[in-house]
Amino acid sequence: MKKWLRWQGFGIFGVIIILISLFWFVFIDLIVANMIEKYGTEIVEAKVDLESADLSLFPMGLALKGLQVTNPDEPMTNAVQIDQMAMSLEAGHLLKRKVIIDDMTLEGLRFNTPRKTSGAVVLKKTRMKTVEDSEKKDSPFAFTLPNFDNLDAKEILENENLETLTLVKELETEIQATKDNWQVQLQGLPDEKKFQEYKTRLENLKGKSGGVMGILGAASDVQNLHKDVKKDLEALKNGRNLFEQKRAFLKNRLDQVTSAPARDFNRLKNKYTLSPQGLSNLSRLFFGPQIANYINKAITWYYRVKPYLEGGAEKGKEEAGAKKIRGRGVDVRFAEDEPVPDFLIRRIKAAVLIKAGDLQGTMENITPDQDITGLPLTFAFSGEKLKGVRALSINGILDHISPESSKDTINLMLTEYSVADLSLSKDSTLPITVKSGLADLKLNSVLASGNISATLVGFMKAVQFAGSDSQDKKMSFSGAVQDALAGVSRFSMQANAFGTLDNYDVKLTSDLDGVLKNAAAGIIKKQSKHFEKELNGAIQAKVNGPIDRLQNGLLDLGSIDKELTQRLNIGNDLLGGLKIF
């Protein structure tokens, strides 16, 4: 036994354990801070900085100071900054590699704060889906405000592709191909020369004699001749039928081409002027881009947050072997008597600092394993008598207990928000700014299984719009709109967003529409009329020549018809002569 045991080994082992413990006590705070920065940066895909961390054992807890999370889209801005974080940890669960935080307190929580240095990091993996890509697609509010002063019909036509010209080119090619094809086919059909040969054969038969046998033989030859002529005539008739069908088809195509200029005119008119629908929904032009911007930002953040609400589901896929992290392996879960998520913050109490003041609130059940807790993430923040806002409250439920039927609800209520110099339209041709006013906003939004359904109701009172100071503008569309708005002191609007995250639409109505329509309709109608006349003239000038060319090309096909008719006439005459004989 002695031969195999080294008793002093116990002492050495004890010393090693003490050294490891000392190292842990001295450096654990630094290690925790580094881990938060490292894994935080990996998750956010932008730099996460932490001033310090302090881990205490009795009672088990962690305090963090100076946390900054960079906005991945704006590396010089922090998406979130928190001055102090304190949390209590459940030691028993830590032994099971589970981080369960009963209570967390956040102090000095701020959004969109400036950074001293860039927080951009080199991405090692494909970025999560955001709406930046979909923004490049047609926005539901894609529209250019009409500016009749700068509209030049000829210039527009230089930059636009006309459907008419495309059709002309296609039909020209087809007519030419038909012509060439029939020139070749005519050579294969019986012609005047062929019928002349038949006539010669007939003359020869007429001169034949030689008794009864001779007469009988001549009769048989005439019958054969009759058959040959009839066969050729059939070929000619079929040929002409085919030709007529093709000519009728080309004629039909020509009719389509001649109606194309009208379609081009309507398309360009709608593109460069206001359609009747656009005129009756001018508020969409003002509020639309802002609302689309807010929705896109919300969707971008939703895509970022979603994986952390449904982490449990992702783990399930890993177990199935869909994904393996090299060097880390896969953690397999087994049934537990009292299942507890790997990460859970039961309750966060936070003070959010916004420009208007402090918002107080709580968040509950923050975990990527809602399927285990069976509880959705909830939050509620509110503030009263803030600077420039009488009351603000925001609350929501992010229910991902069953990822397939997830449902997220967010409600916002803003009362008497003092608006100052709010730009409704930044378009240089029609700048519209609310100089001052009080806004009440109410948002109810639901995202259920990827489908958005949101309603935003806004009411503005004591409104003052920045007026038009240019006399020239008085006669323009923008001048008319600005003049009309000068008389508005209150208005309401309602926006309804619906559809999927990738393809949503927004319906926007406002009682401003009526005011704007009445003010601008006359001017738009007058100016549109002049532009429409110019546009129509320019289109006609551009397409008339090519269409005439097409018509002449189609007329040229008449020569083939004439040739076919002539050959048929000769053949028919010959056949008539054979009957007499």
Partner: protein, 174 residues
């Protein structure tokens, strides 16, 4: 590294028990093939220190097996997953999963489970194989090597000087 290699050669050529060298190599296999910061490696360390396993052989073996571990990750991952997801073992894992020790040791991780199971299965065969090799080396190869021309060149090298200067701290307990 040269010093470590020289130490190992010295141990190999000394009268240290082959079993102590083999035991050290087997324990090095567990520590080297499994993730370093694992709970079970504390037990391995305790065994290395308490049992008369040869420390030079352990350290050299640990370096070699750690180098082998990374390219074998995918094998350990597959083996570990197969064990953890085996229907026949589900009851066992489910019972163990409820124990804090099992979770702390991270035995539900595919790589930890795969590499540890592989090391434990290979432990006894590898022990006897290493024993056999050390004995055969001493009986046949050592004498031939001592006389070989390469050995004569080696004896004139720096490595041999290091080798000569190392006090004999091997499995013999000296």
């Amino acid at each position: 590294m040269l010093k470590m290699l020289a130490k190992f050669l010295k141990v190999l050529n000394s009268d240290a028990e082959p079993g102590q060298i083999s035991l050290a190599l087997c324990l090095a296999m567990i520590a080297g093939l499994t993730p370093l910061f694992s709970f079970h490696n504390l037990i391995v360390l305790l065994l290395v220190l308490v049992l008369r396993a040869n420390l030079s052989a352990f350290i050299l073996g640990w370096v070699v097996f750690s180098g082998l571990a990374y390219p074998m990750d995918h094998l350990f991952n597959g083996f570990g997953l197969a064990l953890l997801q085996a229907e026949a073992l589900r009851g066992l894992w489910t019972s163990l999963y409820k124990l804090s020790l099992f979770r702390l040791a991270h035995f539900n991780n595919s790589i930890v489970m795969g590499s540890l199971a592989f090391s434990l299965i290979a432990f006894i065969p590898f022990f006897f194989l290493a024993n056999f090799i050390v004995k055969r080396y001493r009986e046949h190869v050592l004498a031939w090597i001592q006389k070989s021309r390469i050995m004569q060149v080696f004896k004139a090298s720096k490595l041999y000087t290091i080798y000569q200067n190392i006090p004999g701290w091997g499995g013999s307990g000296s």
